[in-house]
């Protein structure tokens, strides 16, 4: 039995590349044992996209097994509820750093909001943070969930996060295995965009693939929030990679496509420089 190794997996181009390669290594396998070894480090928020592709792999009657070179990684993935999907016991989170792995239906929007509130915002790690910042985080994550629901035709939405107290960061990843941004945009516009041009189009203000009702401002508002927070916003869809970091945008291509869309948001919890609305922004109505 071959062992597939994931090594030092972070939410960056190389981390996502490893998960995409894992998917393509087994996408056509049937009735096989898939042995995954996790080495050195695995950012727990990426349990979201790992879980999504393992569901696709398991749908072909493949069995998935894990091994770890460091038990601390296993403990984290047991505490956040990911490994119990693969036969491990669920452990309680004594360190209070995990943001639980969940597999939701697109129509579970309000359940998802309750999950965000319970897992991210009601915890005592950042009691000094303003309600304004917490609300913005909640809104941002909820906008991403709504986008997945409205545009991807996915069956499940996979979510997971991780709180890094030392770095004052919350990382949150949401994954769907729907049709992806490229196909959605091209179907809507009749274009032949590649994945990067499709992402570029989708993140522009007032662009939406939903016909019949106005929309297309959710992602614009989200990018404004991320820029104000000095956070990070990533989209992985098909073979396209997009990252907004330090107010700079980066686009890259993967060798092979991800079977859906991943969105990762990184929020800085030590950033008090959050813009508050001044008189010039006053509601005109």
């Amino acid at each position: 039995m071959d062992i597939y190794t994931l090594s030092s997996v972070n939410p960056d181009y190389y981390g996502y590349s490893q998960i995409i390669m894992l998917y393509h290594s087994y996408r056509n396998a049937e009735f096989e044992q898939v042995q995954i070894k996790i080495n050195q480090w695995f950012n727990a928020s990426l349990c979201s996209c790992l879980g999504s592709i393992l569901d696709l792999i398991q749908s072909n009657y493949n069995d998935v097994y894990f091994s770890f070179d460091d038990d601390r990684i296993r403990y984290t993935m047991q505490r956040n509820g990911f490994l119990p999907y693969y036969g491990y016991d669920k452990l309680s989170d004594g360190y209070n750093t995990t943001i639980g792995y969940k597999k939701l239906l697109p129509q579970d929007g309000k359940c998802f909001s309750e999950y965000v509130n319970d897992q991210l915002l009601s915890r005592n790690d950042y009691p000094e943070k303003s309600e304004f910042l917490k609300r913005r985080i909640h809104e941002s994550i909820s906008e991403i969930f709504s986008n997945a629901k409205l545009h991807s035709d996915t069956i499940n939405i996979y979510v997971c996060g991780q709180c890094f107290k030392g770095k004052h960061q919350i990382v949150f990843t949401l994954t769907d295995t729907g049709i992806g941004i490229k196909e959605r945009v091209n179907n809507t516009l009749g274009t032949n965009y590649d994945s990067i041009d499709a992402i570029k189009w989708a993140i522009k203000d007032r662009h939406t693939t939903k016909w019949g009702v106005p929309g297309g401002i959710g992602l614009s508002i989200l990018t404004e929030y991320i820029n104000e927070n000095n956070g990070i916003f990533q989209i992985i869809s098909d073979d396209g990679f997009y990252e907004l970091k330090d107010q700079k945008e980066e686009f890259r291509k993967f060798d092979l496509p991800f079977p859906g869309t991943v969105v990762t948001l990184v929020f800085r919890m030590d950033d008090e420089d959050v813009r508050h609305f001044d008189d010039n922004d006053a509601f005109p109505y």
């Binding site: 909001s113 570029k200 189009w201 106005p214 959710g218 508002i221 922004d281 109505y285």
Partner: protein
């Protein structure tokens, strides 16, 4: 004539206004009152989160059959924080543009090459 009060929390049954289907229910309530020529107060008391996925059908869709001036003359929003008011503002502006020219989206094909 007394204003009609629409209590969003009561209709959505949640502090989370995140579902487009809930937005549609708010739209129906507002549209019915507008159809009777009544002034409307939309209260967001006890609502914690409002997304554009909710606001587009709830408020933006009103611009399909009413002018912005008509909607704003008849409606007011209370128990809502400033940033959410701004979000409603953007939804209304976007909806006004959309319904003036629903085919505009098709002409955005080359917009990614403009920056």
């Amino acid at each position: 004539m007394d204003k009609i009060k629409i209590d969003v929390y009561n209709i959505v049954s949640s502090p989370y206004c995140v579902e487009s289907e809930d937005g549609e229910r708010i739209f129906q309530a507002i549209e019915k009152a507008l159809g009777k020529g009544r002034d409307i107060v939309v209260s967001f008391k006890n609502v914690e989160i409002i997304t554009t996925a909710f606001l587009n059908p709830a408020i933006g869709k009103l611009l399909e059959c009413h002018t912005k001036e008509e909607v704003l003359a008849k409606m007011s929003f209370v128990d809502i924080i400033e940033s959410d008011k701004l979000k409603i503002n953007r939804v209304i502006e976007t909806a006004e543009l959309y319904y003036k020219d629903p085919d505009r989206m098709q002409r955005t094909v080359d917009s990614i090459y403009e920056d």
